[in-house]
């Protein structure tokens, strides 16, 4: 690990902890970045659905003896575009479209895994995440995918905001609604796969959504929500990895629990310190 990561004190003094920290911080940045737009689009659970489709991809990779990250990526992108296609054509409502892929994905995954000889340790690392065993080549994949996600989101943030905030108006106004929605779907799939080894398929969606739940309580603008969400997320990753070292707990689960605890704390503090203005009668839904 290059300096200054190599010079970190306990609990990050060991190489495997340092790789976990760098990979975790990358996930901590890009997951809530995408999540803020997904929450605004009322598609908070899409990360979960895509995670299940990615599980089928992992199963396919284990059978085909291909690195499961690539097959998971292919399945996840296909699933994300499929959900978006169903949603945008109004063939199914957003959550029904999700459910279709969600259950088909997990079922296909179970069938593929059983064909491949059943559950094994390598599969479990994808389900629950194991940042402590991330090796250098996996780290460079996570960082490359993460950099691509962050650069795309920064370039598209204005039009993404317009489309997820008011899709019908954006279409009438000539903004490229279909293109933007598909790019967001693809980036979500890439993020799910890039984060898979850190928090696991079952908990990826949590890192996309829980920090945003805290961010929208703390912030009063979209931009500030993005910043707060990333701050909460990166903080949860660092604290979660440290805590898992202290107590020997599963790192992925610990990170997510801390992110959830942060939300509980900020929600309670916000409520007691500055209660939200009651809606006036004129304001409706």
């Amino acid at each position: 690990m290059p300096w200054p990561v190599s010079a970190l004190p306990y609990p990050f003094e060991l190489g495997f902890m340092q790789r976990a920290l760098v990979a975790g911080i990358a996930v901590g940045v890009f997951a809530p970045m995408i999540g803020t737009f997904l929450v605004q689009k009322r598609m908070s659970l899409i990360g979960d659905g895509i995670g299940h489709v990615a599980f089928a991809g992992v199963g396919a990779g284990l059978i085909a003896s291909v690195w499961p990250v690539w097959t998971a990526l292919a399945f996840a992108i296909g699933g994300a575009l499929g959900v978006e296609w169903l949603r945008s054509r109004r063939r199914a409502s957003g959550d029904l479209a999700l459910a279709l892929f969600f259950y088909s994905g997990i079922a296909l995954g179970v069938v593929l895994v059983s064909l491949g000889g059943g559950l094994n340790a390598s599969l479990l690392t994808y389900l629950f995440g194991q940042p402590l065993t991330v090796n250098d080549s996996e780290l460079s994949v996570i960082l490359t995918l993460g950099l691509g996600i962050v650069a795309s989101m920064l370039a598209l943030r204005r039009v993404l905001f317009a489309v997820v905030t008011d899709e019908d108006w954006s279409r009438v106004s000539g903004l490229p609604v279909g293109f933007v929605n598909n790019v967001l779907a693809i980036l979500t799939a890439v993020a799910v796969v890039a984060a898979m080894r850190i928090v696991g398929i079952l908990l990826i969606a949590a890192m996309m959504v829980l920090p945003v739940a805290s961010g929208q309580v703390l912030a009063r603008s979209f931009r500030a929500t993005l910043r707060w969400s990333i701050a909460v997320s990166v903080g949860s990753v660092i604290a979660g990895l440290a805590a898992s070292r202290f107590w020997g707990t599963a790192p992925g689960g610990t990170i997510v629990l801390i992110a959830a605890a942060v939300f509980a704390i900020v929600a309670v503090i916000r409520r007691s310190v500055a209660p939200r203005l009651p809606a006036t009668e004129e304001v409706d839904g």
Binding site: V39, W169, A219, E282
Partner: protein, 261 residues
């Protein structure tokens, strides 16, 4: 093939901004509008009224290109609505915007999205874009609310924010679908001022779909009454001759329209 349909940025004053000729539409076998003619020219202020279920919303969707007419022709800036390349020329204020409102967004963030189509959505916003956004906010009286989250505003203030979003692109045609339904009188006055400002300063045409015309009665060039077909198309004074008041008794027009059902 596409070349004759290309839109030039500056529309000639003699080409109508919006023209519907003999337009019909049906949902399944249920005819909604039949043989409708409608025209909005630069600088013209036209109100579209009609009882509930008269096909107003369907007509607006047809005019904007969201629906395709079964018969007849619609020209937006002289071309088919789906062939309009410079969509910023059209400012649109939807009836009741369904905002994704899970995440707080400030008035300024919302209004700035109105600038994207004009600037090119892949370009960063420049100083003149910021100025246009501030100008739009000021023209609807929301300058001091720029940093406030939209969901903390009253219904009337929110509606003004959506009008400002449409203003931000400095459109040549503004289509407003029931923008002042249930809005307080202060907001209605601001609304009128900002519409007149857009028409006088930018020569824009306005199509206002609304029941509540009292705030703008004296400014309208034409009123179009729709009930499946166009029942009336002319200056408000001619409607007054038929005993319908747009201004003095604000309730008069809605009552009269209901009588048409």
């Amino acid at each position: 093939m596409a070349a004759p349909d290309r839109v030039v940025t500056r529309a000639p004053a003699d080409i109508p901004l919006l023209q519907a000729s003999g337009v019909s539409f049906a949902y399944g076998r249920m005819p909604v509008i039949e043989d409708v003619d409608l025209r909005v020219s630069p600088g013209e202020f036209v109100a579209l009224v009609g009882p509930n279920g008269s096909g107003k919303s369907t007509l607006v969707k047809l005019l904007l290109g969201s629906l395709i007419p079964a018969a007849g022709e619609i020209r937006l800036f002289g071309v088919s609505p789906r062939d309009v390349h410079d969509r910023w020329r059209l400012g649109y204020v939807p009836q009741r915007p369904v905002l994704g409102s899970e995440v707080p967004a400030t008035v300024e963030e919302i209004v700035a999205t109105g600038r994207l189509a004009r600037r090119g959505w892949w370009h960063p916003l420049r100083r003149e874009d910021r100025a246009a956004v501030r100008h739009a906010l000021g023209s609807v009286g929301l300058a001091e609310f720029a940093e406030r989250p939209v969901n903390e505003l009253s219904g009337g203030q929110q509606q003004r924010a959506f009008i400002a979003r449409a203003f931000a692109s400095e459109p040549q045609l503004l289509v407003l679908d029931e923008p002042i339904a249930g809005v307080d009188s202060e907001s209605q006055r601001r609304f009128r001022d900002s519409l007149l400002h857009l028409m006088h300063e930018h020569g824009a045409g306005v199509l206002l779909v609304s029941h509540e015309l009292s705030a703008v009665a004296s400014d309208l060039d034409r009123v179009v009454v729709l009930k499946g077909k166009v029942l009336f198309d002319g200056p408000p004074s001619k409607l007054t001759d038929e005993g319908v008041s747009l201004g003095v008794h604000p309730e008069d027009l809605p009552l009269w329209l209901e009588g048409l059902r």
